[in-house]
Symmetry: C2
Subunit: 528 residues, 2 copies
């Protein structure tokens, strides 16, 4: 089916179900947005836009794709020839997707979507906003999925594996105990874990459902007496099953969490409504009390214990060996004029893969020659890559997931004697990088307080970089993990700054990006 | 009367009026706290404690004085021999004053105070909290004032003077127009101005009611058609009266604001409930809508216009002349062994007074020799001062109010060849001072982002200073004027960080304070 045919089919289904407006977001049923399983890419299937951000909205006579500035060029190309209008998020006159839903659902009409992929907090907001029009939300219809039908990819079935105590420093049973202490402090009877990383951390389990991130599609429910892990049994080896049993964890079918929540009559349930999907929220009864706060595991994950820190250091030593071999190879071979961005990144992948306990890249490598380095999210592909010549810079942002830790490192390699301008810019980036790395500060300091150290040397010559200076890094989990970061625009009510706590790992990655000219970034991970 | 007799008299009055708990705060009827007229010092009159922070609370069988860490030593001395208990604010086990009021008003009882000196927001909070006990607030009784009786100082009657357009860059009529634009944007019919600085700024008037701050006790009420200035006629010269008339300002008796607010039936009134006293709040009727937001004039005052900036620079040139003469005199005369902290500050006062358009000191000078410099709010007095010897440091924090601007400057003068430790500490303070002064930053940056520049060099050697790095400075008004500042602990919901806007003036004053040893502070004003 072409995109236009898919939309026509969707409109027929909308008519059958009396749906006026159909909302198809980007998130999965855990409300992850950045990396999701193909099963959840309904937004892309219906609109034809393959980028990882935004949403699709279809009405009787309109189909729109919302996405942000990073993707405008890509979306323009992919939407060409379809009936889908590109809605450029953030530009003047373009309503937000939620505002559009509210404005375009007619009086007494119905807005429909798949409640599994929409946060409870969003459904509450939309339901309230539509009341004024006597319009309603139906959150039980996956119409885009119906259109996709048999062609739709299955849910991933990546095998789970145990991350031994020597890597995590704590048994799953010990971690469960920690969580229960937090629950008691909040007088919570049950805790619903929806973030993909949370059950992995809690049970010392890793998975293989998403490229470059060793997580698994699963939920968990912790009560003071029982711990349940909602996953597909096919993912479990005997070893994993035994490990779970040993730590007191009951395995339940992935889809049965809602039913289990329904059984918690009258209980106090801890669940963050911005991280809980609408289907799960619907399982909470009126006699339940909801403790609408972030999962305590986010902070546990952020603050690494002694064993994790020791292991992360070890992973960096191995990663450093791979990087040094790589840089030596680049310097020695660039003059032969056969190197490409792809051959360089392949060489680096191979060096990491040689290291002990290597699992996979921690994210897709950015191997960007010269002007390509100015694009912060550049990715070379078979269809489009540059040759690497013996002049200018090769910017390589890459990392590995090892059983002992996750790395994220950027080096900008001079391929020839740099020009005076290149030297000056590189030196200022390095100065900011070092100033932040050397920072000594009192408890209570946030990334908001420290950002100027990295950015200051560049601001002095009127150069800024349009991104944060640093992000948290998980332990053998996601390479981007909050809640902390190094960013100057935090500290507002909407974006509270998080205190830097001992054991937090955060990147330090100032850069200079001159469009069509060059990119320089120097990145290491720092330990607070 | 002794303090104990005053408290006994107060308790008799409390009994007559059926008041169980009497609250006597530190604020005046404008809710200023730092510098207030003697008329408002009931808290000090009743307790015997002369410091400028805290409050007194009296019940049938308890009298307490709440104050903060800066004043513990002073309060211990002054309360000795009285029945007043010192309540050390912030220490474990010491309830806040408001919590004490709530806890100690009996079931069905009455809490009484003078509503003129308590914010509407505080009265709302207390009234709600006491409802649970069926207890109530009576906010119309100035019992401490009754005890004080004829001995009570009168309200100050300082003469007003006009600050000409050459100093302010705008006429009063132009400023009134600016305020009306802000009112229209908020659909406000009336704006109540309670901060002492607001009418001064709006009408280009200065006063002489409070030492070291050229403000006057007055309110103002701006509607879209009328502007009223609530002040005592005795303060007005012919010139001031003519100036007000020329700019369309009606003069009304100081006490008549409440009555005029009562006349605003059904109108939308802009007034900040944390800056509006309870008596004025009581004049607002149920059919009024209150726009509970800060006065727009705070930001107008903070962002200086071109003429103000030119004038402030000029004031600093003159102030610099006085400072240079002073430092030369100190260096040349310290060896004679006759200098004291007082003779030094007197010499400096005299040098400033020689300068053109000088009005008064902008705050009481801190002239602190050696270890005295380690006390951030030290003040030498006839009863207690140190001689200045030809060794170590003399720290002098001082400033002047001139018709063209307000200065605030600190120099730490080496009286002999400094030791290695003194050199090192002085250099690090200067380094932080310069790093902040040289900062270049993007719009959107707050003092929260910049503080590390001043503090960083000291943090590196494990030294911190227990105060902010910088405060806003008014234009021929208060030497401490927000809403901006340079402080690292902002950016929380309770203490939002304010963006630094062009035209803001802020101090840059890092320091080192080694108790019983030395104090080093270097302070200039910076222009954003």
């Amino acid at each position: 089916m072409t995109v236009n045919e898919r939309i026509e089919t969707l409109r027929k289904l909308m008519k059958e179900h009396s749906i006026d407006v159909c909302y198809i977001p980007n998130e999965d049923d855990h409300l992850s947005e950045e990396y999701t399983a193909d099963y959840f890419k309904c937004k892309s299937y219906i609109s034809g836009f393959s980028g990882e951000a935004g949403c699709t909205i279809v009405t009787k006579d309109f189909a729109g794709l919302w996405t942000d500035g990073r993707y405008f060029t890509q979306a323009e190309g992919e939407l060409k020839g379809t009936c889908v209008t590109l809605m450029r998020m953030g530009q003047e006159g373009v309503p937000t997707a939620l505002q559009f839903l509210i404005d375009n659902t007619p009086e007494g009409g119905t807005l429909g979507y798949d409640g599994r992929v929409v946060a409870a907090s969003v459904t509450r907001y939309l339901t309230n906003a539509l009341k004024a029009k006597n319009a309603k939300v139906v959150s039980s219809l996956d119409l885009a999925g119906e259109v996709w039908g048999k062609e739709r990819p299955a849910m991933p079935q990546g095998k789970l594996f145990v991350l031994e105590k020597k890597y995590t420093g704590e048994t799953a049973a010990e971690r469960i105990e920690r969580v229960r202490e937090a629950m008691k402090a909040k007088k919570a009877d049950a805790l619903v874990l929806t973030a993909l990383e949370d059950p992995c951390w809690l049970f010392n389990i890793r998975g293989n459902d998403i490229a470059c991130t060793p997580v698994s599609y699963a939920f968990a429910l912790v009560t003071l007496r029982k711990v349940s892990y909602y996953t597909d049994k096919a993912k479990l080896s005997e070893k994993v099953s035994a490990h779970l049993k040993e730590n007191g964890v009951t395995v339940r079918p992935y889809a049965s969490l809602a039913k289990d929540i329904e059984k918690l009559h009258g209980k106090r349930i801890w669940a963050s409504l911005s991280a809980l999907n609408t289907e799960l929220y619907a399982a909470i009864a009126d006699d339940n009390t909801v403790i609408n706060e972030p999962s305590p595991i986010a902070m546990y994950r952020a603050c690494k214990n002694k064993a994790e820190i020791r292991n992360i250091r070890n992973a960096h030593v191995k990663d450093g060996v791979a990087m040094v071999k790589f840089i030596k190879w680049v310097k020695e071979n660039v003059a032969e004029d056969t190197m490409t961005e792809l051959s360089a990144q392949d060489y680096l992948y191979a060096r990491r893969a040689e290291q002990k306990d290597y699992i996979e890249p921690s994210f897709p490598t950015i191997s960007a020659y010269q002007a390509n380095g100015a694009m912060m999210h550049y990715s070379a592909s078979e269809e489009s890559y540059s040759r690497v010549r013996p002049r200018g810079f090769l910017l390589v942002d890459s990392g590995g997931t090892y059983k002992d830790g996750t790395t994220d490192i950027t080096r900008t390699i001079a391929l020839d004697t740099p020009t005076d301008e290149e030297k000056k810019l590189y030196t200022l980036v390095l100065k900011g990088h070092i100033d932040l790395a050397m920072a000594k500060f009192l408890y209570g300091t946030t990334g908001n307080n420290l950002d100027i150290l990295a950015r200051g040397p560049l601001w002095k010559i009127d150069i800024d970089y349009q991104c944060g200076t640093g992000h948290g890094v998980g332990h053998v989990l996601s390479v981007h993990e909050g809640p902390h970061g190094i960013r100057w625009g935090m500290g507002t009510p909407a974006r509270p700054a998080v205190k830097l706590e001992p054991g937090m790992v955060v990147t330090d990655e100032p850069g200079v990006y001159l469009p069509h000219k060059l990119g320089i970034r120097i990145e290491n991970e720092l330990l607070v």
